[in-house]
Amino acid sequence: MTQSRTPVLLIILLLVPALIGLVVFRLYPIALAVNDSFFNVLRGNSVFVGFDNYVALLTDSAFWNSLKITLWFNLLINPIQIALALGLALLYVQNFKGVGVYRVLFLIPIGVSLPTAVIIWRIMLSQDGLVNGVIGIAGVPAQPWLTAESLALYSIIAIATWKGISYWMIFIIGGLQNISPEIYDAARIDGVKAWQRLIFITIPLLRPTLLFVLVADVSINFLLFAPIFMLTQGGPADSTNVLMYEAYKSGFVFGDMGRAMAIIVVVVAILLVIVGLQFRLLSGRREAR
């Protein structure tokens, strides 16, 4: 019913600052960058090559191998991070004597920047490092966490998860705050068990927040390559060579921006499809209160 009196001026005022910022500092640079994918640099001159850089990817074995790794990596890391962040959020909001100390400690990874986290974990996971020292006490032989084809990708998932879940936890806690306590009280009086409350009340009512966390987390993880750059440089035997790292090498190490941007456009296209699916599945709007 308010539609008939849509306050056009207000909408413009509310939207314009954000839209100008996003257009000038994000979307316009993005358009320029995408444009690069249609050019190659030869002898200092940009040459328009149409879709050649994309066509070349079709027969590029490094690209296909990276694509497989990227999809596998994301298939694992996103559900793990979101499930653990949700679990951590539920632990965080419990009230009992002494919980305050844990609440502080659960926040620690938020302030540790990713490069710092990676430096610390690399030393801890090295052959003679702390982690192998600790498992050695239990009699487990030292593991080549970052140097074995079978382990490196999972070690990177573990490091990124350590760094990420406290951060996502905060968003989920914010979402939990939007659920009315009376719903839980009513359920408890009706004798609904704790795990049932989680499945049938908390998660459904948390859907808008979970959609945000899912979209944001998936986007960030698809773009993630700093730990790979710093820890394994795509190895051992290409086992951690995700698409973003392949693109980074092309663009910044090899001076081949055409191929780099073509790869990135493919990554964004995949991301858009995935995010579209997530919207379909999760955005059935519900009234929370």
Binding site: V41, G44, N45, D128, T147, Q233, P236, F254, G255, D256
Partner: protein, 438 residues
């Protein structure tokens, strides 16, 4: 309304920061690596501006790990805010091939520069960059660990002794250890306790890097890539390189004398803590190792038995950004930095890196300041740079080569079969290089 506020705040801060306008006629901006290099460059710039009052030189220091990325981005954007560029030797070709650098002014006399260093600044026969200094690799050894293992260390330069250039030449030409000797000693020096290694026998400073390992295969007779700069088949997968890579594999797996995947600087830390018996590394480690208190000697960089003696070389160059509006002034400073007696002296005194300016090398050979340890190590650098130095290949696809090479050698250390790793490196390099080959 809200953006207005932000704009006002931003404007205020901006006007606060803008108080440093230039009074001179010309300002030259130079990008350079943060740390000692910046300190040394500032010293040279101060000396230069004292003699040239119309010119100011502003350094823009960037951290080492990000320097290449930032330089790449800014040069690619044809940023006129950069006049002078600090260039790593192997990147000269990549920059030159993409038109980032101006050809060096023909009026600059380069007769006093070491030829091999000068050649590494050329692309397609044209000089694009001038060498600022050189680098030399040696082998550091821990005397106490050798004594404890009861084996004789290599001949070398040690604390408390002096060495003339003739004596150093004799050491470098006749008493250089082979990699086979290093392997034998390393196996005896490595100490394992309960399945864990507490002392390592040997490691190289830069794990898997082409700079450090190029002499491995090339000393056995085959270059890492072909003369065209884009072919690796028949080179990196040759018999010579297979033998070199097998030696490398054994260090980590068969013999277990080297620690895996050390980051930058960690090998020197390990040596300084007395947990490593031999370290093949740069002379730049001397100040740090002297400060660590470990009792060490310095031997020449080894070679393979029956092979040719070759040693790593090449370091930093200076070039002039093609987009700069101050070409003449920029070249004048570049020339002062690299080909003048004063400029090179100020640089050397500040950074203590092996010079490429021949009169300065002569001073090292004859000056009494360089008789005693550790300064006499520079004489080893002089010998190697004039006799055994082998520059990295000149190719616009150097980044591709370095990456494929490092990937292969890291994989080999981690247990990937040598033949597979080298074949994969050849394939990757050639595929990526073909995209930038002219």
């Amino acid at each position: 309304m809200k953006t207005m506020k932000i704009a006002i705040v931003a404007g205020l801060v901006a006007s606060m920061l803008a108080g440093t306008a230039m009074a001179q006629d010309k300002t030259l901006n130079m990008i350079v690596i943060e740390g000692g290099d910046t300190t040394a460059m500032q010293a040279v710039a101060d000396a230069y501006t004292a003699a040239h009052p119309g010119v100011a030189i502003k350094l823009q220091p960037y951290p080492f790990a990000q320097f290449f990325q930032v330089a790449e981005l800014r040069l690619r954007s044809k940023d006129a805010g950069i006049d002078l560029v600090y260039v790593d030797a192997p990147l000269v070709a990549s920059y030159a091939s993409r038109g980032f650098l101006s050809p060096v002014d023909a009026g600059i006399s380069t007769a006093d520069l070491v030829t091999s260093a000068l050649d590494a600044g050329k692309y397609d026969g044209t000089q694009y960059a001038l060498p600022i200094n050189n680098s030399a690799q040696v082998m550091f050894y821990n005397k106490a660990l050798f004594a404890a293992a009861g084996i004789t260390p290599p001949d070398g330069l040690t604390a408390g002794s002096t060495a003339s250039q003739a004596q150093v030449d004799e050491l470098a030409s006749a008493k250089r250890w082979t990699w086979e000797q290093v392997a034998d000693a390393a196996q005896e020096l490595t100490v394992k306790e309960g399945g864990r290694t507490t002392t390592y026998g040997f490691t190289v400073e830069q794990f898997g890097e082409l700079y450090q390992l190029q002499p491995f295969g090339e000393s056995l007779g085959t270059d890492v890539i072909g003369p065209d700069g884009y072919t690796a088949k028949g080179y990196l997968d040759s018999e010579a390189w297979t033998k070199a890579a097998t030696y490398w594999a054994n260090l980590y797996n068969e013999w277990g004398v080297s620690p895996k995947s050390l980051g930058y600087g960690e090998a020197a830390q390990l040596f300084g803590n007395g947990k490593l018996a031999m370290l093949a590394g740069g002379t730049w480690n001397l100040p740090g190792l002297t400060a660590s208190g470990v009792d060490f000697g310095v031997a020449p960089y080894p070679y393979f038995e029956g092979g040719k003696v070759l040693t790593p070389t090449g370091s930093w160059y200076v070039g002039v950004n093609a987009a700069s509006a101050n070409q003449a002034e920029a070249f004048d400073f570049a020339s002062y930095l690299t080909t003048s007696a004063e400029g090179t002296k100020v640089w050397f005194d500040s950074l203590q890196q092996l010079p490429t300016y021949k009169p300065l090398l002569d001073q090292i050979s004859t000056g009494a300041d360089f008789d005693a340890f550790p300064q006499d190590v520079f004489r080893l650098g002089v010998y190697d740079s004039l006799n055994t130095a082998k520059a990295r290949p000149v190719t616009a696809a150097y980044g591709q080569l370095q990456d494929a090479f490092r990937t292969a050698f890291v994989d080999i250390a981690n247990g990937v079969p040598v033949a597979d790793a080298l074949a994969s490196a050849v394939q990757k390099f050639e595929a990526a290089a073909a995209r930038v080959a002219p």
